[in-house]
């Protein structure tokens, strides 16, 4: 448990993806079976046991400490698990008994699986007695089910794969057939065993991805070779159904990286009653109309999928490819043939929750450009708000994993662009910790009769390394006030830095003073030439909002 606790501790402070990978891989290398397997399960969210409630932990600490001292400590630390981990008193009896070794992760996981509710307090306090500060912190994170250390299941699998110089994809493909503590997986990764076989009746297939198209590319492409579709602003998924050994139909939903997300969308499963593998987009459709990504976001990353959530955010699958049907693998067929099979498959399915992503008829690139410019008029109709561009797929393209050149292209709509004024800057993390790299920018508005800048967003990328140096220098030289790590940067009509900010969409927000929140904002370029007085106004943004429904719940960030 201590070694796992050390790992979690390090990961919780490490901002860099590659460094996180190295820490996890190193842990897998240094830690034996079965502990590392349970660690992998913990990191991928594959452990299941009844979680301890915060109330239980409060009770345990209340029995052992002065309530005033606990209150002062909790107030200072701000996190229950951490406070308890730090102030848990040393058990003097324990030292009389010759310091029993701290529990291993395997022991903890095994016990947690079988432990009755009544036995929990006693067991938990015994472990807390035997562990040190970091060990107690990790244990409490684990038992309360609140790990939150910024590690995705994908990252953990990538780290495991690196143990055997394998690709994360290879692990992803066999993952559904594996169970903790993954002895066969580690044996294969360390070259001691055969590659585990995925016997799952509804396996994931590695996805095919598109290249972003550039203007220059069109010169070499013949419009007749391509089929065009709308690019939907939803979530790419693979919906797979198959019969298990006993003949029961089983359906699974995978993310584009192969994570099993079935549990989040129980309402879609009954519609997947034919054996096959659909590649498509997950969308929310209300009253026959596809909702924007902002609305879809309300259904993502929910621990509990309530009946109300299902009713208010009806989930829908828009199909654009068929990778398998019954026993046959269709990936070696040209796209045009797969498309025909897909159309027949969706018709046979006969489910309103699953429909075809329509193709766009076009004679030449100019016609497609016009459709991309105005999806509403080009057939997307009321769904056009959820269109983020067009997709081009070669008629003869086989379904190849990864991003093969020249087969699929994405042609996104142009982003919105505004000129905003830099207002505050904050230091970044990791490599960027000596740079002011996180920027809050604002636009002009009339507040009680005077012109004022109101913050409309934050961005921390989009600029080049050279531009970062320039902005950093500007921030340091033009700081008017400091609040901890935040610098207040000069922003007056004649003084300040104008940044051209690009973003994908806008939504109303009750959290921001300006009333708007941007999606995926980034610094497009620096307008050293432009005085701040000429930057954009809030009214410009408000005009963009006019059709968007308000969204109250948090989740305005990028995806």
């Amino acid at each position: 448990m201590n070694r796992f606790a050390e790992l979690l501790d390090r990961l919780s402070y490490e901002p860099g993806r590659n460094n996180k990978l190295r820490l996890i891989t190193n842990y897998f290398r240094e830690t034996g079976d079965p502990d590392r397997g349970y660690a992998l399960a913990a990191l991928t969210g594959a452990l299941s046991f009844k979680h301890a409630k915060p109330g239980l932990i409060r009770d345990l600490i209340a029995e052992r400490t002065d309530p005033t001292l606990f209150a002062l400590s909790y107030d200072y630390v701000g996190d229950l698990s951490e406070t308890v981990a730090l102030m848990w008193p040393k058990n003097s009896e324990r030292h009389l008994h010759n310091n029993p070794p701290p529990p291993t992760l395997t022991e903890v996981v095994a016990k947690l699986r079988t432990l009755g509710k009544a036995e929990m307090p006693k067991q938990l306090s015994r472990w807390l007695d035997d562990l040190d500060e970091t060990g107690r912190w990790a244990l409490l994170k684990l038992v309360t089910g609140a790990m939150r250390i910024g590690i995705s299941a994908r990252l953990a699998k990538t780290a495991a794969a690196a143990l055997g110089d394998k690709d994360a994809h290879d692990v992803e493909l066999i993952w559904p057939g594996l169970t903790a503590p993954y002895l066969d997986l580690f044996a294969w990764l360390e070259g001691r065993g055969e590659k585990p076989v995925n016997l799952d009746p509804a396996p994931f297939r590695p996805v095919m991805l598109a290249h972003a198209i550039e203007d220059a590319d069109f010169a070499n492409l013949d419009a007749a070779d391509y089929i065009a579709e709308w690019k939907w602003d939803g979530i790419r998924v693979q919906a797979v159904s198959g019969r298990d050994a006993r003949g029961n139909m089983l359906a699974r939903l995978y993310s584009r990286s192969g994570e099993d997300i079935t549990a989040s969308f129980p309402d879609l499963l009954p519609s997947l009653h034919l054996s096959g593998a659909i590649d498509g987009e997950l969308l929310v459709v209300r009253d026959g109309r596809v909702q924007s990504f902002n609305v879809l976001q309300q259904r993502l990353n929910r621990k509990v999928v309530s009946p109300k959530l299902i009713k208010d955010y009806p989930i829908h699958l828009r199909a654009y490819d068929l990778l398998g049907e019954g026993e046959s693998d269709l990936r070696t067929l040209p796209f045009a043939e797969r498309r025909a099979r897909l159309e027949a498959f969706v018709a046979r399915l006969g489910e309103s929750r699953v429909d075809l992503s329509p193709t766009i008829a076009f004679e030449n690139w100019e016609a497609l450009a016009a459709a991309r410019h105005d999806p509403y008029a080009a057939g997307a109709g009321d769904d056009s708000e959820a269109v983020e561009g067009v997709m081009l797929k070669r008629r003869d393209a086989l379904y190849l994993p990864g991003r093969p050149r020249g087969q699929w292209w994405k042609w996104k709509r142009d982003p919105h662009v505004i000129d905003a004024v830099l207002m505050y800057a904050q230091r970044g993390h990791g490599k960027r910790s000596s740079y002011y790299s996180d920027y809050t920018f604002g636009v002009w508005t009339d507040a009680e009769g005077s012109e004022q800048l109101v913050p409309v967003g934050k961005a921390y990328f989009g600029f080049t390394d050279e531009e970062l140096l320039q902005i950093d220098r500007f921030v340091r030289r033009n700081t008017t006030e400091k609040f901890g790590p935040v610098r207040h940067v000069v922003h007056a009509p004649d003084q300040g830095l104008v940044m051209e900010v690009a973003f994908e969409g806008l939504q109303r927000s009750t959290r921001h003073k300006s009333g708007v929140a941007m999606r995926f904002p980034r610094i497009n370029r620096l307008r050293w030439d432009k005085p701040p007085r000429e930057a954009d106004r809030l009214e410009t943004l408000e005009r963009l909002l006019k059709d968007t429904a308000p969204v109250e719940a948090p989740g305005s960030g990028s995806h």
């Binding site: 820490l23 001292l69 200072y76 730090l86």
Partner: protein, 348 residues
């Protein structure tokens, strides 16, 4: 004489009227008795200064020859009559030369402990518990969540990181007087024998430690070293420098910070620290309470830090306790740019 008439808090600091001096005054006074060399305790501009030789040397290094009109060195265990009182210096285990000051008037003894720790430290004389009637304790880490643990384990953590990331430079933020030298000594004790690099602000004081016979191995100024040559190395720097443009001379720097504050995760994150090292030159909660109990004092005065919790603990143990209203301590380093991001009392 009542204890509060022997030592009285005043705006200039703790005043001993019957002895005619102040202890660690924050404003210039005629006669100052100083516990240790940290700049919140040892300030320039006093008339006469009484302190250990090391503390006087450090003040000289920091403030120049004329930091006081006259100085007098006193050794641990040496007793001196000042007016109606006697003062005696005892090791505080905080940094090199740090002392607790026992003030005896009639049959009442008060110990002003300054800053202290009971953890082992190869760079200074260990804390001596002094029996007294009134014990004046600091409370920098006066909350039961502060358990510093074994500093050697923290250094192990640093060394395993250096091993795992050999292409990166490890920057260890550490207060330049005491903490830096202790971290170096701990690294040496853990068997690390490569050269250790120093930020310019650390050089003088570290050299002074070496001149007092403290073994720190091979040290090099980081100034002028090529970027590529700093991969896989350890550099010690004042905490404020680790988030400064100064760090751009290092290849992919990994920022560590050695401080008792690193025990609390929010504090470490706030400072953008990647590798928090819980190493403190102040007593932790267990150290404070154990030392208070060991002095046998019936009355405890609590100063700079988390007074409330420590006063509360004393009360539950049947000791008479009160917070002592002194201002101006614990802000060493506070004036430096960005240091505030790392929290009050960066010297902790």
């Amino acid at each position: 004489m009542r204890p509060q008439d022997i030592l009285t808090p005043q705006p200039a600091g703790l005043c001993c009227k019957p002895g005619g001096f102040h202890i660690d005054p924050v404003k210039p006074v005629e006669r100052a008795v100083i516990t240790h060399g940290h700049s919140d305790h040892a300030r320039p501009g006093h008339g006469a200064v009484l302190a250990t030789q090391e503390t006087l040397d450090m003040m000289r290094l920091r403030y120049g020859e004329n930091f006081a009109r006259t100085t007098q060195a006193i050794a641990y265990g040496e007793e001196l009559r000042l007016g109606e009182v006697t003062v005696k210096f005892h090791p505080a285990g905080h940094v090199l030369g740090s002392a607790q000051i026992a003030v005896t008037c009639g049959d009442t003894r008060i110990v002003a402990s300054g800053d202290y720790k009971d953890a082992p430290d190869p760079t200074c004389t260990p804390l001596e518990v002094v029996a007294c009637d009134v014990f004046i304790t600091e409370a920098t880490f006066g909350l039961p969540v502060f358990r510093h643990g074994d500093a050697a384990d923290q250094v192990k953590k640093l060394l395993s990181s250096v091993k795992l990331f050999p292409e990166r430079a490890h920057l260890v933020g550490a207060y330049s007087l005491g903490k830096a030298q202790r971290v170096i000594a701990l690294l040496r004790a853990a068997g690390y024998d490569a050269p250790i690099y120093l930020h310019g602000a650390m050089e003088k004081i570290t050299l002074y430690y070496q001149s007092r016979g403290i073994e720190l191995g091979e040290l090099r100024p980081v100034r002028g070293v090529k970027k590529v040559d700093l991969a896989g190395t350890i550099t010690l720097a004042p905490p404020s420098a680790t988030s400064d443009v100064w760090t751009r001379r290092f290849p992919d720097p990994l920022t560590a910070f050695a401080s008792g504050w690193m025990r609390v995760r929010a504090r470490a994150r706030q400072g953008g620290i990647e590798l928090p090292l819980v190493i403190s030159d102040h007593a932790d909660w267990d150290g404070l309470t154990a030392t208070i109990a060991a002095t046998g004092a019936g009355e405890i005065w609590v100063t700079h830090g988390q007074e409330d919790a420590l006063v509360r603990w004393c009360t539950t143990k049947g000791l008479s306790a009160r917070p002592l209203d002194l201002v101006g301590y614990g802000d060493e380093d506070g004036g430096e740019d960005e240091a505030t991001a790392l929290g009050e009392g960066s010297e902790a």
